[in-house]
């Protein structure tokens, strides 16, 4: 598969990408005017990121295979060997783009801080006696939090590549995102460290308006950081599904950010949501490029690196932007998939190495995969499985003695196949995109409409930050 042809861009692709990148560079050059246009610059960077990622993935295919970074696509009749860990390419391009973006993000502040004159009233000069340097009110705390986000992402990329390379054991790799989150939590701790949450109205008589969670807030953040990357890594295994779900979450988060930016008056959360867009726009750029190669029939695999990386992007924007609760509302399918998987994760039900849907060579369709019970389940588990079967939440097969000999693997992908019947791999991936969109829109509805039932205001209307 890795011949010279499949690893070079077609003439049409070459020209499209050159034109895209050229246009974006043009736009970029024009953002250094007035107070700068960071959002436009970010959009232009995302275009460049798309072009670079698209080309690099194509070009690096044979190099990755030669380096042993490859895997077999089991859901195809001929089981082709294709490059693995391409998420690392995405991640590296993304990180470099975010680094190059730093001066654009802070251009307004650089101008204000260095020109000093004119009517820019934000300039406050303090002569710093100790170092002899002139300080200005440059938003170093925002810079530090931007950098801490980058550090966390780089951390998880390094550890993710290590995981893809070294095949780290399952119970160790669950903790990789926790290590990735450490830079962010450290900087959060030394930097501003808001650990208050707004208390829902019904509980306010008992707890007050705000509750300082203190140390527990860090535990909460670490839990979010462990959950998001791992939950994306769990809802995986068919062509395109990892990237597509991440793209849906990113786009919905961006829609949520836009709600805060289109309001006529500026409020406290605006900066957080601008910050979030800076991280999400290039993410959409690199992910789209990856999806082109990873959609059915896949030319490349994304690797655990991509899942960790994508999850961590959401963690970074959610935590540093103080809207991690909102973010979790976009993870409904992932949360369901995790809860639904727990019986297998905790070995109450046997868990094979892979639980991805089973490919049938005859029909070319995927169907729910099963776990075989070599020893029949205990009466309690058998009853539970019967119940799940009756609720159509699992499928079981019994032998002539009425003992359960097979039960379907408990993942959302298998469940969908039980409900909808066997389907082609891309149809299943598209279904998951649909589920993710519907659940996400519901989540945002809950956030901005139903939340008013338990909180006094939606912070979109008033300048108040909640968790």
């Amino acid at each position: 598969m890795a011949n010279a042809k499949s690893s070079s861009l077609s003439r049409r692709e070459t020209w499209s990408l050159i034109i895209l990148a050229g246009a974006c560079l043009g736009v970029l050059a024009n953002t250094f005017e007035g107070e700068g246009a960071p959002l436009v610059a970010s959009l232009a960077f995302s275009g460049i990121a798309f072009a670079v990622t698209f080309s690099m993935i194509r070009w690096l295919g044979p190099v990755f295979i030669k380096a042993g970074l490859s895997g077999k696509d089991m859901a195809k009749p001929n089981r082709p060997v294709i490059p693995e860990t391409m998420g690392a390419v995405c991640a590296v391009v993304y990180l470099l783009v975010l680094i190059f973006f730093i001066p654009f993000a802070f251009y307004k502040d650089i101008v204000a801080a260095t020109s000093g004159g004119g009517n820019r009233d934000v300039v406050v000069e303090v002569h710093h006696v100790e170092t002899g340097r002139t300080l200005h009110r440059f938003p170093h705390e925002r810079l530090a939090s931007y950098l801490s986000g980058l550090l966390s992402l780089q951390c998880i990329v390094i550890l993710g590549i290590g995981d893809d390379l070294l095949d780290i054991r399952w119970r160790h790799k669950v903790l990789i995102p926790a290590f990735g989150a450490i830079p962010m939590l450290m900087v959060y701790f030394v930097d501003f460290g808001v650990t208050h949450v707004v208390v829902p109205v019904p509980l306010q008589p008992y707890l007050g308006t705000f509750l300082d969670l203190g140390f527990l807030y860090y535990v909460y953040m670490a839990a979010v950081a462990i959950f998001c990357p791992n939950s994306i890594n769990m809802l995986a295994g068919i062509n395109g599904v990892e990237v597509a779900q991440s793209l849906v979450i990113a786009v919905l988060l961006m829609a949520n950010d836009a709600l805060y930016l289109i309001t006529p008056f500026r409020h406290s959360a605006t900066d957080s949501h601008l910050f979030s867009l800076y991280f999400l726009l290039p993410f959409v750029g690199v992910s789209l490029a990856l999806l082109f190669h990873n959609w059915y029939p896949s030319k490349v695999f994304v690797g655990d690196t991509y899942c960790y990386f994508a999850g961590m992007v959401f963690v970074v924007v959610g935590i540093l932007g103080h809207f991690s609760k909102t973010m979790m509302l976009l993870f409904i399918p992932q949360i369901f998939n995790f809860l639904y998987s727990t019986p297998q994760v905790f070995k109450v039900i046997p868990c094979p190495r892979h639980r991805l849907p089973k490919f049938s060579v005859e029909t070319g369709l995927l169907d729910a995969s099963v776990t075989e019970w070599t020893v029949p389940p205990s009466p309690l588990i058998a009853t539970a499985l019967e119940l799940l079967n009756w609720l159509r939440l699992a499928r079981i097969r019994k032998n002539e003695r009425g003992e359960i000999v097979e039960s379907s693997n408990l993942t959302i992908l298998n469940l969908w196949l039980i409900w909808m019947g066997p389907m082609r791999e891309d149809q299943l991936a598209l279904s998951m995109v649909g589920v993710q969109i519907v659940c996400g829109l519901f989540g945002l509805f809950v956030r901005h409409c139903l939340a008013l039932l338990v909180f006094t205001t939606d912070n979109r209307a008033l300048g108040m930050m909640i968790l």
Copy 2:
């Protein structure tokens, strides 16, 4: 070689490391008193880093070999296959330690900023109207520069691992450190951006006391960032030499830092040199652990990752601490090796893929390796080679017609072997350590004594920063 025995710690090693790590943890717990003791904490972290790196390298050996990260040691009779890229383990431990160290580095400032009361006169509270947050004079600019250093190091580790994995072409990999330096330069640009240099006294009538290099200063910094990692990568190829030279440079830089810290009065460069120690102490910790495994006869190889990473640590402390010129004085052997190599690097003289000294199975000793001239050199080059041969800076061999058929490869390792005769691998590595120490001490002498001839003061005595 990778059996269960060689990949586990002996009982004595286990206990030594546990005691070391335990003692360090004890010390660490006691640094959260008064204004904190960041230097003591850094020392304790370095001990922990040593213990963790030492164990991880041992444990991960078979895992690395299984993942294809291995190489043959050509300078041994039986050419054993040993794990490669172990520098990545060092680097990851180092980065995690520096991340965990953040609250310790800024503990004094956290205390001053949050307690607020008492006689801590540095507390300046400004109520930030826009965000409702209370700001204090927390040194965000120092935090940002610390984080930018970390980002650069992570960047180069990711790219270094990519290089080790994918075998990137020579002319591409030279630029890897440039990418690694970008985060630091970006933050330097948006953050404080000192681009002035002190002009030597003889030139002051023409240029003034300070010269603003502006954009050129960034070019200079990028050049330093490209040179240091690559120059360490060039002085490589025998057991232990990469790590040993880096350790010598690190220890000499630490000695230089100590000069600034033991003066009774505090001055502007103190913070920079404290900062430098925070980066160097854990580096010495992880490098020592690596050296134990990498010294002759090597149990592991360090990989390009280590060379890039080590070089970048020096770049980070040199640039962010504003003593990059001083730092370059510790790179005399590397600079010599680079200049001496240029004829081969630029293909004036043929350059084989590897130029490391040749191992003789009969004697067990290394001797200078040679390049064969399939076509005799042009008269000009032949004359130059004859001259080098006469100066004992190279060794040539002629055929019966007087044409040059062989010339030694132009590296400092081969030159040393020409001067001193064949020797065992560890003797050669030790010689390089000696050369590095002598040259480094000479460099520091130049810096602190001879520099007074062209600059008015040594900044160790007066609070003035030079380059």
